[in-house]
Symmetry: C2
Subunit: 233 residues, 2 copies
Amino acid sequence: MREALAEPGRVRALFLTGEARQRHGDLVGLAVASGVEVCQASGRVLTELSETVTPQGIVAVCERIDVSLEAALLPGARLAVLLAAIRDPGNAGTVLRTADAAGADVVAFSDTSVDPYNGKCVRASAGSLFHLPIVLGAPVAATIAHMRRAGFQVLAADGAATRDIDDLDRSGDLARPTMWVFGNEAWGLPADIVGAADAAVRVPIHGRAESLNLAAAAAVCLYAAARAQRAVG
Amino acid sequence: MREALAEPGRVRALFLTGEARQRHGDLVGLAVASGVEVCQASGRVLTELSETVTPQGIVAVCERIDVSLEAALLPGARLAVLLAAIRDPGNAGTVLRTADAAGADVVAFSDTSVDPYNGKCVRASAGSLFHLPIVLGAPVAATIAHMRRAGFQVLAADGAATRDIDDLDRSGDLARPTMWVFGNEAWGLPADIVGAADAAVRVPIHGRAESLNLAAAAAVCLYAAARAQRAVG
């Protein structure tokens, strides 16, 4: 919430209980200083607004922050993420947080993915929703085509790929401007999306696990790209 | 469950509803072939046994599989994990799964961590609980001392560390036999544990995120060590 209040014009209103008002004087101060409307409400109203079973008595109503892919992709960008049919809001939020940490320049949600404004996604993102440009409802094929025209290689994270990320790292290709495409938690990426990418890449499984979960695989992929890109400067 | 049934002597009994018995004929066949007792029970009993809100009508009662650190640490082992005060069973299970995928040789749970036999942890591990030696109730200081005597470097994952994992990678030190220590989700590792390790290491934050979540940080750390170790053979 502090993240959102720190961005001018991002928060429209702050609703909170009397108890939360006393507890979060700093946030109220921030809101007032930014000209944000502060409204006291009952615990019942807050519970409804926050869509959570353990509400904290404070809710910020924010402007939507998604932008077009064209607007999101600033000159110099080199690390992008496309979430294709990610359905679990906790997973989506966690990948968003990891993408932010790895220094990604943009995260696009496909039109088949969960809504990043879902409360669980917002919470799992731990503020990262407000840190980098978010594209909503991105059509997968058109987004891949757009990024390739913009000079990005498109890498499909695919547990069944023959090429693994360490091969790609050694070849030097990971240092190029890259968009990672991550697929659904249960069934991964369909063949047509994998086919549209420049390469399908897997995280190697050295032990006996059948697979990694989405958040862990995304962390390995995004940090490998960040490391390779920074090693070449 | 298939993972457990595949290990001789691991499953003591299989409880399932009549409906699940029809649905999972293959698992019942596996159980019968292995001499495992198969018991039909009501949905209510299964719900109680499975401790979950969406039970699948089938529960395997397993032998405990944890071993001592001495027994777990086989010659040639080079990647170990110590979970110190990890409290969330889902996190613990996910890190266990990631450790298995990265080829870890042993995962130790500190005496202050969640019980890995917790149902949520078992499910999040996606079978990895049965894939590699698990040590339970490990006293943190003694475990660190034991691993150092066994020739392992002990790395404390610590978001506040001055040294980052890419530095360590470039120095060649990541290729050494390594035990990673991961701390509590909320407060990380206390100073005495960090002090007992050979080095404190952070995953670099390139963007604006305050931190990574535990599972993502562990994935980056474990895969970095696996990659470095395999690069030197």
